[in-house]
Amino acid sequence: MSFTPPVEKCKGSIREVIVGAEGRVGGENTFPFHLWEGEMPNAPMIAMEVYDEPQPEWPEAVRKVYEDVMDDPVAWAKKCQDEFKADAICLQLRSTDPNGSDASPEAAAETVKSVADAIDIPLFVYGTSSPDKDAEVLKKVAETMPDSNIPIGPVDEANHRQIGAAAMGYKNPVVGFTSMDVNLAKQLNVLMIQLGVPEDKLIMDPTTGALGYGLEYCYSIMERDRLAALMQGDDKMQMPILNNLAPETWKAKESRVSEEEEPTYGDVETRGILWEAITATTLLLSGTDVLVMRHPRAVELVRTAVEGLQAQS
């Protein structure tokens, strides 16, 4: 019996979403990096995180990288762009958290504007997963940045009308957030399409579990999302996927606990970097299009993995 490679063509493809002036995410017509049987015109985009207020609780490994820019989101974003060669920035509007500093939508929108003006790469803007506050904040962001193509999220079922309407009005892509469930993800897409959000302005955030903290759920949900989109050709699932992974991996005990406290775990900085890079790589293999990342070394490792995955004989 001689060997014939069992090649499989997909009947669907993922929509391409334009972010910023000319950034492109999605567009693949095959499973992640299956370049022997399909095309993946845009490599997954790595968006490096910037916060709009200092993060003193972060583990040392990431705190020391951003110490000099922690109280200046513009300088922080420029550092990621110029020094770490980020593909994009994801501005996490942590200051707006109603359980935290509870900053106003106006103040947050000002920050968005000054960061957007200072960089040449695409910008994503993320709220704090407080549905009511995110609705106010992200509406204001859309209004302040019309025609900018800045994706805003997370949008969930509770606030999709308010944010969706603003995004339509000002032409922003939106990132729909659902809780690790294929059907919920589809339902939210359907709701936003019914509302009138164009299909090529939708990105999905399926919830990201870090390595050791639910990564396998996320992995399988994303595989099933892609099977629905590509094999079954379900056009309500053909949206690019974004994984907001850095806040999850750097929260994990294994990224934080010192070698003194857990002597068998080895160097804490190596662990933290790998927790992020391995989580990201696993997501690359299950279908991500946008990775929100934090540590520059982890970014470099994942970029090399992407280049490696693209090299096929």
């Binding site: 060997f3 069992p6 299956h34 080895g266 790998l274 490696g308």
Partner: protein
């Protein structure tokens, strides 16, 4: 084509002799149909049945065991391409490369790590088990293999181009089932003959899938079952491509020449140690059976072991935590008492937020068969008349006698009833709905 359990049953002796290890011939037939047993395990099967069943009943990816005792690694027996379809069966074996270029100190350090390294995660003990010994010279290969067996009890991969060297190293250790690496186009007959003589598994290696399939066909023709494939992928993209096509051919086409587990060497792909770990993670997610690293730095092995566990856990059966009281941040008699369910994801989310809050707390985890808070509540498992007896017998009252209990915000409606069920002066407080809000809640709790 695969046969159903019933079709297979018709061809069996139907004597229920139990010698195959199953209670009945029917049970054995079901195991065969599921690809979990081999026909050879039935001592009385007729030649006619063998001919009909042999091909159909073998698992699409053969089972291979390397090593013996606690350190043995079993790989293969896989039946799906996507873990949600059923589950991935056998977690990959992680190991380390030991070469004749290393000095004794280096070898001793690596073997010491291999012997002692073990991490407990969600109730499972995870560890690297494999020593891959690479040496050109027969004496050196034999000496290092003997040492790895003696000092670490490791599952062995013996690497040499010289068949005489493989023989010298494998013969004294043949009961430990070392993997001979590797049979190539040039020496297939010699290496496979040695594997047959010693009754040990062997690897086949070629630089294209076509050539690998040719060697695989020879292995099938020679009736070899314990074979491991090395497609010699040099880039990460080829790793993905080769592993995917091998698995797809085996599962979807029942293509026997590639119906074996695989071995990969991220240790040979880069000099950057962190990059190597990232490459290794691709082998883990994408089907490899044995994965060889260049050393055993725990900070790099730990995430890889976790990843193997995550990917190979059964998606149909939620991971569960043991019922009991979990102490977080060193709690004392005045620390808050929280209660939640034993769904591992619930537990991890809650415990990591409690930990991050730096507030000492008692986290009482109740067995509800691994369901989340809302699901268990809806199923009548996480309700007042179940939670109260659990808390009473948990012993929490001795540890923290203040009788204040915080319940998840999602089950606020049970607070009154739970207070009644607990009686005895207990006060039930409604906590937050989202884990992310726990730190703030706990800080406020401890200020009051």
């Amino acid at each position: 084509m695969a046969l159903s359990g019933l079709e297979i049953f018709k061809l069996l002796p139907k004597t229920n002799c139990k010698e195959c290890g199953q209670a009945t011939c029917m049970a054995f037939a079901m195991q065969l149909a599921a690809g979990k047993a081999e026909l050879d395990e039935c001592p009385y099967v007729s030649d006619e049945a063998k001919a009909q069943l042999g091909e159909a009943s073998a698992p699409p990816v053969r089972k291979v065991t390397i090593g013996a005792g606690d350190m043995a690694v079993t790989i293969g027996e896989e039946t799906v391409l996507y873990r949600h379809e059923k589950r991935f069966e056998n977690m990959p074996g992680l190991g380390v490369l030991i070469t004749d270029q290393m000095d004794d100190g280096q070898v001793d350090t690596l073997l010491g790590q291999l012997k002692d390294m073990e991490f407990n995660y969600v109730g499972q003990d995870l560890r690297p088990r494999v020593a891959a010994i690479r040496a050109a010279d027969g004496d050196k290969l034999a000496a290092l293999a003997a040492k790895a067996d003696e000092q670490a009890g490791a599952a062995l991969v013996l690497i040499s181009d010289d068949v005489a060297a493989l023989k010298a190293a494998a013969e004294p250790l043949k009961d430990k089932k070392p993997l001979l690496y590797a049979a190539t186009e040039a020496n297939f007959d010699e290496v496979s003959a040695l594997a047959k003589e010693l009754e040990v598994p062997f690897a086949i290696k070629a630089d294209s899938l076509e050539k690998l399939a040719d060697l695989g066909q020879k292995a099938v023709d020679g009736d070899f079952k314990e074979v491991v494939l090395d497609p010699s992928s040099t880039t990460l993209g080829d790793v993905l491509k080769d592993q995917t096509l091998i698995r797809r051919a085996a599962i979807k086409k029942t293509f026997r020449p590639l119906g074996f587990p695989t071995i990969g060497f991220p240790c040979d792909m880069t000099d950057d140690k962190l990059q190597e770990a990232v490459f290794a993670s691709t082998f883990i997610a994408k089907y490899a059976g044995i994965i060889i690293l260049s050393d055993l730095d725990p900070a790099r092995v730990l995430p890889l072991l976790y990843l193997g566990q995550n990917i190979y856990t059964d998606p149909q059966r939620p991971m569960q935590m043991d019922e009991g009281i979990y102490e977080i941040n060193d709690p004392d008699a005045d620390s808050p008492i929280l209660v939640t369910t034993n769904f591992s994801l619930t537990y991890f989310t809650v415990s990591s937020e409690v930990e991050a809050s730096k507030v000492p707390a008692w986290l009482c985890v109740m067995d509800v068969e691994g369901q989340s808070v809302l699901t268990a509540w809806a199923a009548g498992k996480f309700v007042a008349d179940a939670i109260a007896p659990f808390l009473k017998k948990s012993g929490i009252e001795e540890k923290a006698p203040h009788k204040k209990l915080v319940i998840p915000g999602y089950v606020a409606q049970i607070s009154g009833e739970l207070e009644e069920e607990l009686g005895d002066g207990w006060e039930v407080q409604v906590g937050v709905r989202e884990a992310a809000d726990i730190p703030k809640y706990l800080r406020q709790w401890s200020e009051n």
